[in-house]
């Protein structure tokens, strides 16, 4: 009974915080999406499902949705794949210091503010004539690529940047997961003469289940919500809206077009997508073992 009281007391502030800052805004957002809402006006008309009907007919929204799904699919897959490989390679080093050094190197871009690194990439790495990437390509005889001005290339540039800036976080998580696997499991595999690949496939991969679950969900959520590179790295959503994603579209509708009701409808779509995918993923990769 005492324990229950303690748990209740500890939970109340957290629940209160969640209710005030998460549940209420979501409900308000949902309500606003049914209005032609202007926060300055005292007369906001109820328009029912009009904003949602508009969504279906809006070519820019469809473009933003497609770009978002494509971006998230590619970046999340690449991010997790690269992070896992890098974490595994780091784990091969016996020295703790060396392992920490590599983890730090990969984690560094995560510490730098994304707005600042986006500016650096836009001004120094990607520019067509003076950018580092094209200078390097020219040196090996490859023609310059218009990284930020060609609608077919813009998304690739955004993905390259996102992988660079975000992979370190998952490297740390996977490294922690790998370090947490008991060494006797690997020792037993060594005695059986298992190769590195077999150890990875039969031991590391399945025993990283819990790490995977967390990494996939949090990477999905954060990549759906990414904003800085879309607002700073590319110019005005890129040519032909090639870099327009839902998070940027919500900002544009709400604060540039002052169409808060419609922006709320778009936010709701994004919310539903993230929630559905997270629930599916959690259900699919549920783990019911422990070591």
């Amino acid at each position: 009974m005492k324990n229950k009281k303690f748990v209740g007391t500890v939970m109340v502030p957290a629940m209160l915080h969640m209710f005030v800052f998460i549940v209420i805004p979501i409900v308000i957002g949902l309500v606003i999406s049914f209005f032609n809402y202007n926060p300055l006006s005292s007369d906001n008309k109820f328009i029912g499902l009009e904003n949602f009907v508009r969504l279906v007919q809006d070519a820019d929204f469809r473009k933003a949705l497609l770009n978002t799904l494509l971006f998230v699919l590619i970046t999340v897959t690449l991010n997790i794949g690269i992070a896992l490989v890098v974490a595994q390679m780091i784990s091969w080093f016996k020295s703790n210091k060396v392992r920490s050094f590599f983890r730090m190197v990969f984690f560094l871009p995560c510490i730098a503010p994304m707005v600042a690194t986006s500016v650096v990439f836009a001004r120094s790495i990607f520019p067509t004539t003076t950018g580092f990437l094209n200078v390097a390509l020219n040196k090996i005889g490859i023609d310059s690529i218009n990284w930020l001005g060609d609608p077919k290339v813009v998304m690739i540039s955004l993905i390259i940047y996102t992988i660079w800036v975000d992979v370190g976080y998952n490297v740390i998580l996977f490294s922690a997961g790998i370090d947490g696997i008991p060494s006797y499991v690997y020792e037993a595999a060594d005695l059986d003469g298992a190769s590195e690949w077999v150890k990875f496939r039969k031991i590391t991969w399945p025993l990283l289940g819990r790490s995977f679950q967390f990494v996939i969900v949090q990477t999905l959520i954060s990549h759906f919500q990414m904003f800085a590179q879309f607002a700073v790295l590319i110019l005005k959503d890129g040519p032909q809206n090639s870099g327009l994603v839902l998070s940027r579209y919500i900002y544009k509708m709400a604060f540039e077009y002052k169409d808060m009701g419609y922006a709320s409808a778009v936010s709701l779509v994004l919310f539903v997508i993230i929630m559905t995918l997270s629930l599916i993923e959690q259900k699919k990769s549920a783990v019911d073992w422990e070591y």
């Binding site: 006006s41 990607f126 004539t129 930020l148 001005g149 110019l235 005005k236 040519p239 540039e256 002052k258």
Partner: protein, 427 residues
């Protein structure tokens, strides 16, 4: 003992908090002290000019204090918007850019100027400087400057001389000079002869070229019409400079450049770039160039029968309707609006004055000589219109990029599409 210590701490805190409530104090004249807050964006010379004006105003008005708070430009609009939506908190006096006021005037969030003051603003200032501050014949702020993105162009003298060219005086000369000054290395530009492709210039030049053919981009009933022959001619004139003359590319709108076009001019990579005079100080301060020697600010040759152009509001000042001391806030606006104070402010901020008399004054021309190419055409400007100008620019620029990239079947198709989208802004 413990109780004593606690009592002492509490007494100390009471005295401290009472001392903090200085807003309710009295000055020598026996009146209550008043503190107003003013919000502006960060711009060193501008902020210094405001501070000096405030200091002078405070010395003339005992017991009045104006606290200047500044914010980075990028977050200034959302900051102002949030504060005015909230009504409480925020500032008493706001610096507003361009069409921001359009979002606030219909909802009573800004204080209406007295009729006498409003009439003065209408009579004494150029029309494009206060259009967005007016709503249903009422005025909600004072304009500080004339925002002009048409009429002037930066010229890299070093590049021009090296190619044996001179500053063009007619539109035909400009097109010819631009072609002769352009240099390519394959698909890469070594020098753009006339880099007009940027977020502001394409829309402003498009509208100006329509007006200069004695036509209009809006109908009498307030709708857009860019399907006219004049609009098609204007649009085609700009597009052919990209697609046929190839004097510049679309990088300024699509992205991919390391600098803006005018910065590339200062870096010796562009020969002529049309931009507002606000770009001059960057050439001198950031690139260490000298106006008149390394680069010039020259008059843009007129395209049509006249130099008509459209312009949106520049910076202005307005008082929040939730300001508790509106009379004093208004007094500060009136103080700043005085000819001598405003002239000094415009000169220090290198602004084109909104007031006709100041823009044409000898003192201003003497202090800001490069503005000479613009002051002669200021009275040919017209207010761009009561709509979201960011959306207007976005629509024109997107159509321009798509048309130049060959995504439309014909010019007619492009103009029809643009017309539909522009009228969508008004809905």
């Amino acid at each position: 003992m413990k109780k004593r210590i606690v009592s002492l701490i509490l007494c100390g805190l009471m005295v401290f908090s009472a001392a903090g409530c200085s807003g309710g104090g009295e000055n020598k004249a026996g009146k209550d002290d008043v503190t107003l807050t003013m919000w502006t964006h960060i711009n060193e010379p501008w902020n210094a000019a405001y501070k000096d004006a405030i200091k002078e105003f405070e010395s003339e008005n005992e017991g009045v204090r104006i606290k200047l708070e500044t914010f980075p430009y990028d977050e200034f609009e959302s900051k102002v918007q949030t504060a005015l939506i909230d009504g409480e908190g925020g500032a008493d006096i706001y610096e507003l850019w361009g069409g921001w006021a359009l979002d606030f005037t219909p909802y009573g969030t800004l204080m209406e100027l007295p009729e006498e003051m409003a009439e003065k603003v209408r009579e004494e200032n150029y029309e494009p400087t206060y259009g967005a501050l007016e709503y249903e014949d009422k005025m909600y702020g004072i304009p500080l400057e004339y925002n002009i993105e048409y009429g002037g162009m930066l010229v890299n003298d070093t590049l021009l001389k090296a190619k044996g060219l001179t500053v063009p005086k007619t539109w035909e000369e400009l097109r010819k000079t631009a072609i002769e000054g352009t240099e390519h290395d394959g698909n890469i530009f070594q020098c753009k002869g006339f880099d007009f492709v940027n977020w502001d210039s394409v829309p402003y030049y498009f509208l100006a070229f329509i007006l200069q053919q004695d036509a209009d981009y809006m109908t009498a009933d307030g709708k857009f019409d860019v399907t006219t022959d004049a609009a098609k001619t204007a649009f085609n004139e700009l597009a052919t400079m990209v697609t046929e003359d190839k004097v510049t590319d679309l990088e300024g709108l699509t992205g991919g450049a390391d600098m803006e076009g005018y910065q590339q001019l200062y870096a010796g990579r562009n020969m002529i770039v049309p931009r507002g005079p606000w770009t001059i100080s960057e050439g001198e301060q950031s690139f260490g160039l000298k106006l008149g020697t390394d680069f010039d600010y020259a008059a843009m040759p007129q395209y049509g029968n006249n130099q008509k152009f459209a312009s949106e509001n520049g910076w202005s000042l307005a008082v929040s309707s939730s300001c508790k001391e509106q009379e004093i806030a208004l007094k500060f606006l009136e103080y700043l609006y005085q000819d001598d104070v405003m002239l000094e402010h415009n000169i220090r901020c290198t602004q084109i004055p909104a007031k006709k008399s100041l823009a044409q004054s000898e003192e201003y021309k003497k202090e800001v000589p490069y503005a000479d190419v613009l002051v002669g055409i200021l009275d040919q400007g017209q207010f761009i219109g009561n709509f979201n100008t960011d959306r207007l620019k976005e629509t024109i620029n997107n159509t321009f990029v798509s048309y130049c990239s060959g995504e439309y079947g014909s010019l007619d198709e492009a103009m029809e599409d643009m017309n539909t989208k522009l009228n969508g802004i008004l809905e």
